[in-house]
């Protein structure tokens, strides 16, 4: 908004002459370069957006999608390149400038105040109401806007009462209320159940029908093909396919453009032959961190050589279930591993009974960020020989093991003395898996094992899980990604509000049915409507 036109002098020679005149485009990015220490996040990237379209930005994690859109949303400034909005060159100093120019972004992590209402959150940062907080009039406005775009949410509800899907709607409303005509959505479906995804797509279509446009950032091929009019694929900071019409492409091509090689989307698996009962959970009840019930009478069985998937929308007790089994959370009820009761025992008990745990929070729980890779790899072994040597630690043995694990699991790092926090998401997850799996666990509890990983890394992780299954490990796979569960698990249990809604053989389960159970069963009353 400010200083528009001053950057015009920087514009280099524009080589491509597009068919449609630039002034007709909602957004036009040319030759964007953004460098971060040690990496070029965007390397001469071109991207354009026409009014009334959904343009998907597809790529693996770290491909530079979010960086590019953060530039467009005014969070970062490009090192080189030009931004045009409706044909006018712009330079944003802050997200406020971008919003004023009609560009708004909904981030993966929401920026809402939990103790305030929907209306208050939407008005936050605006100059209205000026002095007295008379919210009635604004509530009506917001309700009207919400209905227009099919965003069902109660303007008077407090944020903490809302499901994640509803919170996302509030974020979208926030942007619509500010009058943006370009909405940038960063991985919007990561937190949603299948039905909520459908609802989001309806909203996005309503927006494009009204002439607004959407940038849809994702790494999920199915969704991108379902919603996008055009697709731009990025890999390692560069565009590998620019503005392809969704109708002119297919999954295989997109996957190759994204990863840079052929990807096997289905892995071979050995026949399902469950062995002895390894994990038996009976009538477990537990509270969450806020002291409210998170698990209400959960019972489960997992057998050797079997993967049991737990499907559910985030926050329905999955994290607490993993914590109860691994001794990190107190509970009522019974948790038996190979017949031995371990409920309410300290975490060390589960570890010594052969329970591996791939935790949800990789940087806060699964690793010590400022310790070296070697120190992180011996976390579960330092009590036992050969790493333990009496009450001292045999550092040579520890380093030998760490080096072997690094090579076997291809943890990409300069040395095992590198701090864990410097590892990329995929490498950190490989470190955690290497540590947890190499001890030949009898039971593995894995929570969101591939969240945030790119296609190549996901394939590697899935291969590891199927290998362990073949070797007789019992696996409890907790994931919000239904596709992942259907690809890996032998049986699937759906969890909703701390209760198991049903257990099905994966071969016989339908996505639609699972999706319904994940959101509480009854059709049409997603997330309970107005809370």
């Amino acid at each position: 908004m400010t200083a528009a036109g001053q950057t015009g002098a920087q514009t280099g020679a524009q080589t491509t002459t597009p068919a449609d005149p630039p002034a007709d485009r909602a957004v036009d990015l040319r030759g964007i370069v953004k460098r971060f220490p040690g990496i070029v996040a965007n390397d001469r990237v071109d991207f354009d957006l026409r009014p009334g379209e959904v343009h998907a930005l597809l790529g693996e994690n770290g491909a530079g999608k979010s960086t590019l859109m953060n530039i467009l949303a005014g969070l970062y400034r490009p090192d080189e390149g030009e931004l045009r909005v409706h044909g006018r060159p712009v330079a944003f100093g802050s997200p406020r400038d971008a919003i004023a120019a009609g560009l708004g972004m909904v981030h993966q992590h929401f920026t809402l105040v939990p103790s305030q209402t929907v209306t208050e959150n939407i008005l936050l940062g605006l100059n209205r109401p000026r002095f007295r907080l008379r919210l009635g009039q604004f509530e009506a406005e917001i309700a009207e806007l919400a209905t227009r775009f099919g965003l069902r949410v109660d303007p008077q509800a407090k944020i903490w009462q809302l499901s994640v899907g509803e919170q996302q709607r509030v974020e979208i409303l926030k942007m619509l209320y500010r009058g943006v005509d370009v909405l940038i959505m960063d991985e919007p479906t990561a937190v949603l159940a299948p039905q909520e995804v459908e609802e989001l797509f309806r909203t996005l279509r309503a927006m494009t029908a009204a002439g607004r446009s959407v940038v849809f950032i994702s790494h999920k091929l199915t969704e991108v093909l379902a919603i996008a009019d055009r697709i731009t694929v990025m890999r390692r900071g560069r565009v590998t396919a620019g503005g392809v019409r969704a109708a002119d492409t297919n999954r295989t091509d997109l996957a190759r453009l994204m990863v840079g090689r052929e990807v096997l989307e289905t892995l071979e698996r050995t026949p399902y032959r469950p062995g002895a009962l390894v994990l038996a959970v009976r009538d477990v009840e537990a509270d969450n961190d806020k002291g409210r019930p998170a698990l209400r009478g959960v019972s489960l069985d997992v057998h050797a050589g079997e993967i049991l998937g737990i499907a559910g929308v985030a926050g329905n007790g999955q994290s607490e279930l993993a914590q109860v089994i691994t001794g990190l959370r107190a509970c009522r009820g019974s948790v038996r591993v190979n017949g031995e009761e371990i409920a309410n025992c300290p975490p060390g008990t589960a570890i010594s009974r052969g329970v591996a745990h791939v935790p949800e929070d990789r940087t806060g729980v699964g690793s010590a960020p400022n310790l070296s890779i070697a120190d992180n790899l011996i976390m579960k072994r330092y009590r036992r020989s050969p790493v333990a040597h009496g009450w001292t630690i045999d550092r040579k043995a520890g380093r030998r093991i760490a080096n072997a694990l690094r090579d076997e699991y291809r943890i990409d790092a300069p040395s095992i003395d590198t701090r864990a926090r410097l590892l990329s998401g995929g490498n950190l997850q490989r470190l955690i898996l290497a540590r947890e799996i190499d001890t030949e666990p009898r039971l593995m509890i894995a929570v969101q094992p591939t969240r945030g990983l790119d296609v190549g890394a996901i394939e590697a992780v899935h291969r590891i899980f199927l290998d362990r299954r073949g070797a007789g490990t019992a696996t409890l796979l907790i994931s919000e990604d239904l596709d992942e569960i259907l690809a890996l698990a032998d049986r699937v249990a759906v969890i909703y509000e701390g209760q198991i809604q049903g257990v099905f053989d994966v071969a016989a389960a339908s996505v639609h049915e699972l999706g319904l159970l994940m959101t509480g069963g009854a059709t049409g009353t997603l997330a309970g409507g107005a809370a």
């Binding site: 200083a3 589960a350 310790l371 579960k380 630690i393 701090r419």
Partner: protein, 376 residues
């Protein structure tokens, strides 16, 4: 990979913009270099203050150096001052490693001094016991009294989550008044605020005691407490760097949640750390009454337990660097006293601490100065 690298902008309106960018890796030399650098900056700032109040900073610093390292005699005095600082510095460094902010080394020092004195003054041992019995008994009593004083906040923290900064700080005052009660009351020497001098058997051997054999040692007051300090530094280093428990301490210090996930009993470690930390500070108190003062008196510590906090920071919680930092501060305290009884040395100490804390930003961030773009 691009999260967290978002530059933080500092609000100065200059033609250039100053940004802090997170470092992706920290070179090995950086931490010691920053320590030395921040001391240099602190000395420079102190010099300005000295100059402003009308002093001659160059002469003052030369004098400090002369009076602390200038001869073997003053070097010995410096080491005497450094001895309690090494032990209390280790006490703090050990606790700080686990992010337990033991601000109570002062109180633990005082209780250690009291415990060691109690062995002599109650008396616990029969009169005329030889030094070989009395000294170890005093060491044990000093260590245990300090350790018990550390145990109180340790247990409160481990079992009930009580903030250790508050408890350790408050316990300092209780320890101070406890000692005052004994030196003003039951143990008072004819109404003065000090006890009777200890018998020779309760004195830690000094170099000057060997002057008959080695004339060079004549008048050198360095005592066995320095050896306690050096041995303790080596032991603490070994525990932290080589033991299983040391690994757990590093794990807890970096991420308590990861430590719990790895099966570490955090409460046990907290209690043990406070026990040992308090014990080391208590041993410092014992070494001070037995090696230097030879009696218990009010104001036996000029704030060793607080200076220890700065020393632990200066050493970046590394036990071996604690020794070096303690000697430097010993020199500062000794020589500073020659310039001015309290103001200047305390000012320099404080400036150094501020310099160190400020320099921590540079350990994690890199400063980038950029010309402002055309649009703003």
């Amino acid at each position: 990979m691009n999260s967290g690298t978002a530059p933080r902008r500092i609000g100065i309106s200059l033609p250039v913009s100053v940004r802090l960018e997170q470092r992706l890796s920290v070179p090995r030399w950086l931490s010691p270099a920053l320590t030395v650098g921040s001391i240099a900056v602190a000395l420079f700032i102190s010099a300005i203050i000295l100059a402003v109040v009308g002093g001659d900073p160059v002469r003052a610093y030369l004098h400090i150096f002369e009076a602390s390292f200038g001869s073997i005699g003053v070097l010995s005095d410096t080491l005497v001052k450094a001895t309690p600082l090494i032990l209390t510095g280790l006490a703090c460094a050990l606790a700080f490693r686990m992010r337990l902010w033991n601000i109570g080394a002062e109180g633990q020092f005082l209780l250690g001094a009291w415990g060691a004195s109690a062995v002599v003054l109650f008396p616990v041992l029969p009169a005329g016991s030889p030094a070989i019995v009395v000294i170890p008994a005093m060491m044990l009593a000093g260590f245990l009294c300090g350790a018990l004083w550390g145990l109180v906040p340790g247990v409160l923290r481990a079992r009930f989550g009580v903030n250790e900064i508050i408890t350790t700080l408050m316990l300092n005052y209780i320890a101070l008044f406890w000692n005052q009660y004994w030196v003003f009351g039951p143990w008072s020497e004819r109404g003065f605020q000090l006890t009777a001098q200890f018998p020779k058997e309760a004195w830690l051997p000094r170099l000057t005691d060997l002057a008959e054999a080695v004339p060079l040692f004549s008048g050198l007051t360095v005592h066995l407490g320095l050896v306690f300090g050096l041995v303790a530094a080596a032991v603490v280093w070994f525990i932290l760097a080589r033991s299983r428990w040391g690994y757990e301490i590093r794990l807890i210090g970096d991420s308590p949640r990861a430590a719990r996930y790895a099966g570490v009993d955090i409460g046990r470690s907290i209690i043990l750390i406070f026990f040992i930390s308090g014990g080391l500070a208590g041993l410092a108190g014992m070494s001070e009454v037995s090696g230097v003062v030879h009696r218990l008196q009010d104001r036996i510590s000029p704030g060793y337990g607080f200076t220890a906090i700065i020393i632990a920071y200066l050493a970046n919680f590394d036990p071996l660097r604690v020794v070096i930092a303690a000697v430097l501060f010993g020199a500062l305290i000794l020589a500073g006293r020659e310039i001015q009884p309290s103001g200047v040395p305390a000012m320099i100490q404080g400036t150094i601490l501020f310099g160190l804390i400020a320099s921590e930003v540079l350990l994690r961030y890199r400063v980038r100065v950029e010309r402002r773009g055309p649009a703003r």
